[in-house]
């Protein structure tokens, strides 16, 4: 398995190149690029500028593990307004385009948002309608769309079986799950998600979760690897069981208050321990 970390973890006042240098020195193999979340990678970033990002990544001795985005929280594929949905689909298309330019074969999509205004059945159907053609686009580009399980925040596809049925309904070999082992919170067990989705897992986000905390004020429910309640030996065993040998991508919500670079080193070392099974 290979280790990656998001470019949105790079301290805000750092240049991209400085961040890449830190990612490499701390022991990662690749970097996850977040479309729309960092100044160097926006919807307005041109193809030529994207190629330049790739050159910088490769010059640092890294590769791009995948293209993610947080833009779908504001522009979801499940929007009622057709113009909003068109914008959301365009974001996915740009992710696919840039993944190809960056030499990656995977993107992360937050598929839909259930709210008090937009109910579950609408979101489900709308996401199917959006992802079927986008799956065709992705397949033609040789890219896989990984729908992330953002269970608590999305209020959508809350159980592994529900997610499994959703992917069956999308019915595209280019659409799978970008599994976040921290997002499951107290609604289940990451190792069971891994078992159920096995070959459909496109990438894995790693973080730990404090199940007792829940979303409360400014206290993050998430924490660094091995500090929370995830059963890491079971997660590691499940990865072996299903033969997952792809990217593990660190996604830390809580950041070190001091010495932010130290979080990169600590996280990379924790990932080494997980991969080697020394738990």
């Amino acid at each position: 398995m290979k280790r990656s970390i998001g470019d949105n973890m790079i301290p805000k006042d750092w240049a991209f190149e400085r961040g890449l240098d830190l990612v490499k020195k701390s022991g990662f193999d690749g970097i996850e690029l977040w479309l729309g979340d960092v100044p160097w990678f926006q919807m307005t970033t041109t193809d030529a500028e994207v190629r330049e990002l790739r050159r910088k990544v490769e010059n640092a001795g890294l590769v791009v593990s995948n293209v993610s985005t947080g833009l779908h929280w504001a522009s979801p594929l499940s929007a009622r307004d057709p113009r909003g949905r068109a914008q959301a689909a365009r974001i996915v298309e740009r992710q696919i385009e840039t993944a190809r330019l960056l030499g990656s074969d995977a993107i992360l999509v937050v598929a839909g948002l259930v709210t008090d205004e937009v109910p579950y059945n609408e979101v489900y159907q709308r996401c199917l309608d959006a992802l079927r053609p986008l799956g065709d686009t992705a397949a033609r580009a040789g890219v896989k769309i990984g729908c992330e399980n953002c269970n608590a925040e999305q209020r959508f596809l809350l159980s592994p079986r529900e997610f499994w049925q959703f992917l069956n309904d999308v019915n595209s070999p280019a659409v799978g799950i970008h599994l976040d082992v921290g997002n499951i919170h107290d609604t289940g067990f990451a190792e069971q998600w891994i078992e159920m989705h096995g070959p459909r897992i496109t990438r894995i986000h790693l973080k730990d979760v404090l199940k007792h905390r829940g979303r409360s004020g400014d206290q993050s429910v998430y924490t660094n690897l091995f500090l929370g309640d995830n059963n890491w030996p079971a997660i590691r065993a499940a990865l072996t069981k299903v033969g997952y040998d792809g990217w593990l991508i660190a996604e830390m919500e809580a950041r070190y208050r001091y010495a932010p670079d130290q979080q990169f080193y600590d996280t990379a070392q924790a990932m080494d321990r997980l991969i080697s099974g020394r738990l």
Binding site: R80, D81, R83, E122, Q125
Partner: protein
């Protein structure tokens, strides 16, 4: 507005059992598909709810029918307005669903003008409903029921006809008898049909049972 749901269902029982293939009424429901000028989800909703008894058509090939459904209209061209008027004059029931809450201000003014000039339907303004606490539109005809709102509605001005639905106390749908029966919906129902909402399907079934 005075009929209870139970009364209505008893009355309508001979005419209809459910929306879809089990309806016993003769065929005669036509959906006017405005293509890019309407909410596609609304079209899909009526088609799904009324399959296989619904005929989808486009101008100028619009057959005579007992009920004409115009789902999720964003832009109502003069030709579409004329087709609606013709259907009414032929005695049809017309369900005209406006999705004007989803169009730009300039287009909204044109939408409002067509409704006023061609159909004598007067709308006030588009309204964003959310945030709100209760996500339903209150329908009072053909029986009292609650259907999911679709985030944006058009408010109706005072005018002839019976108000059949309201949101937070202001009218958003009316029924008017003239030549034919016009049912104007300022809050789209089609997307709820599309998402499989059982109450929306039952409501549509009841409305169509009133179409001659």
């Amino acid at each position: 507005m005075g009929m209870t749901r139970r009364d209505f269902l008893v009355t309508a029982a001979g005419a209809t059992t459910s929306v879809g293939g089990k309806l016993r009424r003769p065929a005669g429901w036509v959906l006017l598909d405005l293509k890019g000028d309407c909410l596609r989800e609304s079209v899909a909703g009526y088609q799904a709810a009324l399959h296989p008894r619904l005929l989808s058509a486009q101008l100028p090939d619009l057959p005579r029918c007992a009920a004409l459904i115009v789902p999720g209209a964003l832009d109502i061209s003069p030709a579409v307005a004329r087709a609606i008027v013709a259907a009414l004059h032929a005695g049809a029931t017309v369900i005209l669903e406006s999705a004007a809450g989803f169009i730009a201000e300039q287009d909204f003014r044109a939408h409002r003008a067509v409704l006023r000039d061609a159909l004598d339907v007067h709308i006030d303004a588009a309204q964003q409903l959310w945030p709100r606490s209760v996500p339903y539109v209150d329908f009072g005809w053909p029986y009292a029921t609650k259907l999911r709102d679709f985030s944006r509605v058009v408010r109706l001005a005072a005018q002839p006809g019976a108000v059949i639905a309201s949101v937070d106390g202001f009218p958003v749908a009316l029924k008017r008898f003239g030549p034919g029966t016009l049912i104007f919906l300022g809050s789209p129902v089609g997307p709820a049909l599309w998402s499989g909402d059982a109450e929306a399907r039952a409501w549509l079934s009841a409305v169509l049972a009133t179409a001659s």
